[in-house]
């Protein structure tokens, strides 16, 4: 008897939740998909074009493409980190979304914003420990993928 009562209550709650979800779906404001997509394309494209321009300049000095590529990555990380420190990058991000998250400058933003944010909690448990709240998962899953690919390649080649 008690089971039956609980079951009725549960299904009533489920019905209410489903009905409420439906209502929310009707009323929820949608993100401006087209505007966001264009902004992400423009800003993401601009960051990459800028990096390519630096790359072209570095190539002129006679550095081989592979090393030049690494130097460009370091320069972009520096710029991303600097703009975060100056408090500019979060405003770019508000406009362009993924356009400024996905480039390596966004990775630098994730590291610096976390490290800076917890500075007041000290340099050990604050800056150093919190630095990887967002970048940590990226490194962990990147490294895991690389190891999986390496081992699979080793046995299949």
């Amino acid at each position: 008897m008690a089971d039956l009562k609980k079951e009725i209550e549960d299904s009533l709650q489920q019905y209410k939740e489903a009905e409420y979800q439906e209502l929310i779906q009707q009323l929820r404001p949608k993100p401006p998909v087209v505007k966001n997509a264009l902004a992400a394309f423009a800003v993401g494209g601009f960051i990459c074009a800028f990096a390519q321009a630096i790359n072209n300049v570095i190539i002129q000095t006679g550095l081989p493409q592979k090393e030049a590529g690494t130097v460009v990555v370091i320069i972009m990380i520096f710029l991303g980190a600097l703009l975060t420190g100056l408090g500019v990058y979060d405003n770019i991000g508000k406009f362009s979304g993924a356009g400024s998250i996905i480039p390596i400058t966004g990775f630098a933003n994730a590291i610096v914003s976390s490290a800076m944010e917890w500075k007041r909690e000290g340099y050990l448990f604050g800056v150093a420990a919190k630095m990887f709240t967002i970048a940590g998962p990226v490194l962990v899953y990147g490294i895991l993928s690389s190891v999986v690919i390496g081992i699979v390649y080793y046995f299949l080649k």
Partner: protein, 119 residues
């Protein structure tokens, strides 16, 4: 100039794809989700040999998005396996990306020393 334009196009398209994933999925996708997905995606696309052509066309447009980081990790692991066998397969990815990762940690730390968050 053509290279810069192609970098703009390819880089822009990768970011556009990421933005569409963020906006069109019903549950909330945070920057962490996007960054992790792009790195894993880049690594596996690269493992099948499909990322190098993208770099040949787009240059920095394919290396600067974090999928390029995934590509370096995958290619590092593969060439490590070629040269040094199983140990190379394990360490190759990190070896290839070491400068970038160290750069991010060192520069990140320095910036955090200099600046304070403004809110």
């Amino acid at each position: 100039m053509v290279k810069i334009l192609m970098a703009f196009l390819i880089g822009g398209l990768i970011c556009l794809l990421g933005q569409l994933i963020m906006d069109l999925t019903p549950f909330s996708v945070t920057p962490t989700h996007i960054l992790v997905a792009v790195v894993i995606g880049g690594a596996f696309v690269s493992a099948f040999g499909w990322y190098q052509p993208l770099i040949d066309i787009g240059g920095a447009g394919a290396t600067i998005p974090l999928s390029g980081f995934g590509h370096s990790l995958a290619q590092g692991a593969i060439s490590g396996a070629e040269k040094n066998g199983l140990l190379g397969a394990i360490g190759g990815g990190m070896e290839a990306t070491a400068v970038g990762v160290v750069g991010a940690v060192v520069l990140g730390y320095l910036m955090a020393l200099i600046f304070n968050p403004q809110g």
